[in-house]
């Protein structure tokens, strides 16, 4: 009876999660976002951030074309990672004690599931939809938002995951670290983007420090939340389909014998 119940829960967990996310997104305006809004950055600075953004997105698109031919079963992972990044990065989370709202970024999870370049592309697509239809970010600031959330979030998260796995951390701890550092790095980059464009005659690093400290009370706990979310999802996928993840990051994911032999049920 208990096993039946657990099996039902597992098979319906996606539906329940999707429904919960969908319902929570009914939470209306104002849009509690962290993306840099339209018009905040001067045109020259907005253009500067487009350069690395375009470079990494183009490389990511080329990798997607190659991987979809080479790796069987990558499409569902792309779908899950893309949808997760889109949903998580518009998900307003109220932070107790601080009394403010922000949201996780989702790209560290995407980077572990599909690799950092592909995750950058998925993040860029999510940011474009959000900028066009959800008043999240902007078209002129799309490049800056890609760099902070999609690019830095993916690569720092991925790097943290690989380093922690090399140090023999468990899958959960490594993915937790990926979510934690990916989230914090995103906000540090946003702080740098703002400070570099807006410091004027003042000190760049002084303004960077001030903005980072202003973000900290909201983002420190949200980073922990993102770490728990990333750790949970990666552990779940790894227990059920370890071979999919080991194709994305060879030598970091080791096979789980029970899962391969069908013992995951």
């Amino acid at each position: 009876m208990l096993n039946k119940g657990a099996h039902w829960f597992r098979t319906h967990i996606a539906l329940a999660l999707a429904l919960a996310l969908g319902l929570l997104l009914l939470y209306p305006a104002p849009v509690y976002a962290m993306h840099i809004a339209e018009g905040i950055l001067p045109a020259n600075w907005a253009a500067v951030w487009y350069v690395p953004a375009i470079l990494f997105v183009v490389i990511g698109i080329l990798i997607i074309r190659r991987k979809t031919r080479e790796v069987r079963g990558i499409m569902p992972l792309l779908g899950i990672a893309g949808a997760a990044i889109f949903l998580v990065s518009v998900f307003p989370v109220p932070v107790p004690v601080t009394g403010s709202c922000s949201h996780p970024v989702g790209t560290p999870l995407g980077a572990i599931l599909v690799g950092p370049f592909i995750s950058t592309v998925l993040g860029a697509v999510a940011l474009l939809i959000q900028a066009l239809f959800l008043a999240h970010g902007g078209i002129s600031t799309w490049g800056a938002n890609i760099v902070s959330m999609a690019l830095v979030g993916s690569f720092v998260g991925f790097g943290a995951f690989v380093v922690f796995r090399k140090l023999n951390a468990t899958i959960f701890v490594a993915a937790f670290a990926a979510g934690l550092f990916g989230d914090w790095a995103t906000y540090a980059t946003t702080s740098f983007e703002l400070a570099s464009a807006l410091h004027g005659a003042g000190s760049l690093w002084g303004m960077f420090g001030a903005i980072t400290v202003a973000f900290a009370p909201t983002q420190l706990p949200l980073g922990i939340l993102e770490g728990l979310f990333t750790g949970g999802v990666v552990t779940l996928v790894y227990q059920r389909r370890p071979e999919l993840l080991s194709r994305i990051i060879p030598n970091v994911f080791k096979p789980v014998p029970s899962a391969i032999e069908g013992g995951s049920k």
Binding site: R10, T11, A14, L15, L17, A18, L21, G22, L25, P28, P30, V31, Y32, M34, H35, I36, A37, G39, I40, P42, L77, G79, I80, A83, F86, L87, V90, P92, V95, V97, S100, C101, S102, A131, L132, F133, L134, A135, I139, N168, A169, V173, T190, L194, M207, I211, A214, F215, A216, P217, L220, P221, I224, V237, R240, E243, L244, I260, G262, S264
Partner: protein, 105 residues
């Protein structure tokens, strides 16, 4: 060697989390409310605040969905589509493989 790696990395993460919680509690009283009151987003309380100090102001989005309940509708639509895509591919990736009785590539 492997178990010591697990213990050390878990310890590092626990220390970082403890420091983060300490930083959160210490820095929180200094957070000022935005114009929209408590529970405002960091886009207003941080980004727009520093931008305003530097003489920059957020512009109306290219497609202004912030009229009436339009934004609510767009959020609902985005949540439904995103949730459907995530659920559909999760089922293809995890559930259908499990129902087959064994995990295959």
């Amino acid at each position: 060697m492997k178990s010591s790696g697990k213990i050390i990395t878990t310890g590092i993460v626990v220390v970082i989390v403890a420091l983060a919680i300490w930083g959160w509690l210490v820095l929180s009283p200094g957070v000022s409310e935005g114009a929209e009151g408590p529970w405002g987003g960091v886009d207003v309380t941080v980004i727009e605040k520093y931008a305003a100090d530097a003489g920059r102001k957020a512009r109306t989005p290219l497609i202004n969905t912030g009229q009436g309940d339009l934004l609510l509708f767009v959020f609902a639509l985005g949540g439904a589509v995103g949730g459907f895509v995530a659920g559909y591919y999760w089922r293809r990736l995890i559930v259908e493989k499990d129902e087959g009785g064994r995990v295959t590539g």
